[in-house]
């Protein structure tokens, strides 16, 4: 008899088969994923999950008998009241009960349910989307070098000396070579001193003197710290691709933006964030909210803390440029901007906004998306379309359409995803406003 422990064998034997299955049912699964997305809350947008697709799509046909028609026999256990010759009403189809053994082999439920992992989910979800202008940066991308710790070496500059490591080596070396300790020598010296004073036992005194001599020579010979103990911190240089992006979320939080509109914006930000995270190794998010003045805040404040005041959009743009200057050099970072607003702005500000966008922001950023959120409740979408907002008009007139500036209007939660898809479609076709 053999016992074999297979637990350490690499798992995932079914991985290829599973991938093939998903590839085969891709259209169905993708539709299911997008359907599923609508019902998710923002927090678990990028989790895996249970997906259900129609059984039809992954059906494997076989030569088998139908489940209807003809004359069939069933033998069932647990007779309670029947006697031979009884007639029983036919149970409604699919209700189990007296289905007989064949019933189990039939189609059963018509949905095939299974779990997708997070990666699979996102892959399918964002399958045909592409980051605009990703290529540009890659082409021009001068890769920066980066230092990072890589263990210890025996050579190096004094500034990189690792004291702890060196001392540890020295200590172990001294122990190994039995370098006499200071205490031992001192004790010996004291004993010699007392013996010399008293003058008793000269033989022992001589022996002690010789011993003392030996120990002192030994401790001189074996250095406290030897060059072979020295250890230096070692650094390696690795090329750092510009695989980091910063995403600026700009939002108008003045009184005219209600919770529902903020929620729309948040969904858009969440999508953009998931998306960026798939393309870049590192994604920073900066939240800037503005009324008539702008400030950088954390996420929670950004979405939930109420704020009142007028609306001056350019303040947010100024704040963003300040953050860029301070922390995110455009040479090292891919900059994405997503601005959400209800479109209000003080009339006198439009000129400055247009100038900031075209002259300062667009040249350094990869992408600038302006999302105008409308009131989903009560207000008719049609009415909103008729009324063009100040900001929309400003952008429309002054910012060159095409390129990497886009703007869209959204009124309802369900429109977020289609708009997002439209913006990041793989063919990269940029369309102007609606």
């Amino acid at each position: 008899m053999h016992i074999i422990d297979r637990r350490l064998n690499p798992g995932g034997r079914s991985f290829t088969n599973r991938q093939r299955f998903i590839r085969r049912a891709k259209n169905l699964v993708q539709r299911a994923v997008r359907e599923d997305f609508k019902n998710r809350s923002i927090k678990d947008l990028d989790q895996g999950g249970e997906i259900s697709i129609t059984r039809e799509g992954v059906h494997e046909p076989a030569l088998r008998r139908g489940s209807a028609g003809g004359r069939r026999d069933h033998v069932l256990p647990g007779n309670k009241e029947f006697i031979e010759g009884d007639s029983i009403r036919r149970p409604p189809p699919g209700s189990g009960g007296a289905g007989g053994p064949d019933a189990g082999t039939g189609s059963g439920e018509d949905a095939f349910r299974f779990l997708l992992t997070r990666e699979e989910y996102l892959d399918l979800f964002l399958d045909d989307l592409e980051l605009p202008n990703l290529a540009k940066r890659k082409l021009t991308g001068a890769e920066a070098k980066e230092l990072h710790r890589a263990g210890y070496s025996t050579t190096g500059s004094p500034s990189a000396l690792s004291v702890t490591r060196t001392m540890r080596n020295a200590l172990s070396r001294r122990i190994a070579l039995r370098r006499p300790g200071r205490d031992t020598i001192r004790a010996l010296e004291e004993e010699i001193a007392t013996l010399t004073e008293s003058g008793a036992d000269p033989t022992r005194l001589d022996a002690l003197r010789i011993e003392h001599e030996r120990l002192v020579t030994r401790s001189k010979r074996i250095a406290w710290i030897d060059p072979i103990d020295l250890r230096y911190r070692r650094y390696d240089q690795t090329p750092r691709p510009v695989a980091q992006a910063v995403m600026f979320c700009l939002m108008d939080v003045s009184g005219s933006m209600n919770e529902q509109m903020k929620d729309l914006a948040k969904r858009f930000y969440a999508l953009l964030h998931i998306f960026l995270r798939r393309s870049y190794r590192h994604v920073d998010v900066v939240f800037i909210r503005h009324t008539d003045h702008a400030e950088e805040v954390d996420e929670d404040t950004f979405f939930h803390s109420p704020e009142t005041g007028g609306t001056i959009v350019s303040t947010a743009l100024d704040e963003m440029l300040r953050v860029v200057r301070e922390r995110y050099s455009p040479d090292d970072w891919n900059i994405y901007v997503a601005q959400a607003s209800d479109g209000d702005n003080i009339g006198t500000d439009s000129g400055r906004v247009a100038k900031l966008i075209t002259e300062d922001i667009l040249p350094i950023s990869q992408y600038y998306a302006y999302l105008e959120v409308g009131r989903g409740d009560g207000q008719l979408p049609l009415g909103s379309v008729a009324r063009t907002t100040d900001l929309w008009r400003t952008y429309e007139m002054h910012v060159p359409s095409g390129g990497h500036f886009v703007m869209r209007k959204v009124w309802h939660r369900r429109e977020i995803y289609p708009v997002f898809r439209e913006l990041f479609r793989r063919d990269g076709a940029d369309e102007g406003g609606p």
């Binding site: 798992g11 079914s14 030569l63 026999d73 033998v75 256990p77 189990g104 299974f114």
Partner: protein
């Protein structure tokens, strides 16, 4: 009992185990299986796996290295979901009919469970695999693992050479015909030159012996062959009628590439390997369950496992052999473990303490005493269908309160044809055993003709039973597949075999050919 208990130390205490425990368990169980039951098994190979790996094993019908195909991924996704959602637990073990017999046991089983699993799979199933006539006839326990390794590699090579989609499509087609890719009759034994020569010599000697020159003067009959119609001759040449559709395609489909034939062959072999399993579900599980019950009880009696472990065992055993009645919402047909175990226990009862009724029904075994020998004979020589029709006793029918329901779709109501009474026993027994007859479970479809002179149309015939037709939604797809492989038109006739009346006809034409010279029509 106490005296014996002192002779045997406890195999384990508590639920923890290590490899030493497993080895000890295997030894002790093997000893009991050999001494008490006289089981004859392949050597065992026990592999400890994780739940993850168990899911993997599930997906490819338990075979460790089946070739790759999306349908196994589908199985995997399904099982994974069911497991992760906690809708059902995993099996405790999977056992493979090979030599050595491989049993997978899960690492999270308790020590008791490992004992149970080893008794059940490594001895019960193992004995059945090695001795049952169907397995001996149809499967090659020695070669199966090597063959699967070959198949996996071959198909991977095909994928590389001919493209994933071409191979996948071919496998899809082959899978859809898999149920009709088995030989149901014993294969002819291989010809042996020596024996053939000897036979020839015997025949010759006989002819010499009975030679009489007078026969030469008798006016001759018209020769045999001339009397046969050309259609008959054609069918004989093609070996028709043929019910193994995959075999027929592999050997005769005109437009297949050699690798495509080989792939069909692989699918056919795998189907053939599983053919005995589908016919011996009740017996196989019944045998294993009965063995583990016997062995565990004995282990407890001799003091190898303590009362706690034995109670734990009884609980899982009771779960395994639970049979809900038909009116429960979770009723899902007869539980093969339950009916198999019940029948085998019943055989033991009949052997050891028969009643008059049993003597009348089972004169051969009633009161014979040595139940284990009788059971071993049964395990060796029966399959589900014959086992039920032979050994389902009136007493068991009463206990289970079996009844036979007739469902005629032309009538508005179902009719109770037989219940557990004197008039009903035999009818119930026959009806039940027929349900487990493979020839009854699967549609009888045969290839009956190929129009060699005309358009090479392939004709199949479905001999319907009780007027049950093939599953409408699938049949067109399957025929389309068949036509793709055959390369020409395919016709399936569903007929009533009693009257020869044609009930329904399905026709599939080949997809438009695109190859200029007729090559590459398949895909």
């Amino acid at each position: 009992m106490v005296a014996i208990a002192e002779k045997h130390p406890l195999l384990f205490t508590g639920s923890d185990w290590d490899f030493d425990t497993i080895r000890r368990i295997h030894e002790t169980v093997g000893e009991v299986a050999g001494r008490q039951l006289g089981l004859d098994t392949y050597p065992n190979q026990i592999e400890v796996i994780t739940a993850e790996q168990m899911l993997d094993a599930y997906a490819s019908t338990g075979m460790p290295q089946l070739y790759r195909h999306w349908s196994f991924g589908k199985q995997f996704a399904h099982h994974e979901m069911v497991y992760r959602k906690g809708m059902s637990a995993l099996a405790y073990e999977i056992v493979i009919n090979s030599n050595p017999c491989i049993s997978y046991i899960m690492e999270e089983n308790t020590a008791m469970m490992q004992t149970l699993v080893i008794a059940h799979a490594a001895f019960g199933h193992n004995h059945f695999f090695k001795n049952n006539y169907l397995f001996r006839q149809w499967t090659d326990a020695e070669g199966i693992l090597d063959y699967l390794a070959f198949a996996r590699k071959y198909i991977a090579q095909c994928e590389e050479r001919h493209g994933l989609s071409a191979v996948e499509r071919l496998l899809d087609i082959a899978h859809s015909l898999q149920s009709h890719g088995v030989h149901r009759y014993p294969r002819r034994s291989r010809l042996d030159l020596k024996v053939e020569r000897q036979r020839e010599a015997e025949r010759h000697a006989y002819r010499e012996q009975v030679y009489n020159d007078l026969w030469r003067t008798v006016p001759g009959q018209p020769s045999q062959t001339a009397g046969r119609s050309s259609a008959e001759r054609r069918r004989a040449m093609l070996g028709l009628p043929e019910e193994n559709i995959l075999y027929f395609l592999e050997k005769t489909a005109p437009l297949l590439q050699p690798w495509q034939r080989e792939v069909l062959r692989i699918v056919r072999h795998v189907a053939q390997y599983f053919y005995p399993q589908s016919q011996t579900k009740i017996m196989n599980e019944g045998c294993a369950t009965w063995c583990h019950y016997r062995i565990m009880t004995h282990l407890h009696e001799q003091g190898s496992i303590d009362d706690g472990a034995f109670l734990e065992f009884l609980q899982s055993h009771a779960n395994v052999i639970m049979q809900p009645t038909y009116d429960k919402p979770y009723y899902n047909g007869l539980n093969p473990y339950a009916i198999g175990f019940a029948m085998m226990q019943d055989i033991v009862r009949i052997c050891e303490s028969p009643e008059d009724e049993d003597r009348a029904w089972f004169p051969d075994i009633a009161g014979k005493g040595d139940a284990v020998t009788v059971l071993k004979h049964v395990w060796e020589n029966y399959r589900d269908e014959s086992f039920l029709s032979q050994f389902l006793s009136p007493r068991l029918i009463r206990e289970w309160r079996l009844f036979h329901l007739e469902d005629d779709s032309t009538k508005p109501t179902l009719r109770v044809d037989a219940i557990h009474d004197e008039r009903g026993y035999r009818r119930i027994r026959n009806a039940l055993s027929r349900q487990y007859d493979i020839g009854w479970q699967q549609a009888d479809i045969q290839i009956i003709d190929v129009d060699l002179d005309g358009d090479r149309q392939l004709t199949l015939q479905h001999n319907t039973v009780n007027g049950i037709l093939l599953y409408e939604k699938d049949i067109d797809q399957v025929l389309q597949n068949l036509a793709a492989i055959w390369g020409y038109k395919v016709v399936l006739r569903e007929v009533d075999p009693a009257t020869g009346r044609l009930i329904k006809e399905h026709i599939a034409r080949t997809p438009q050919r695109n190859g200029p010279n007729g090559e590459d029509q398949l895909f």
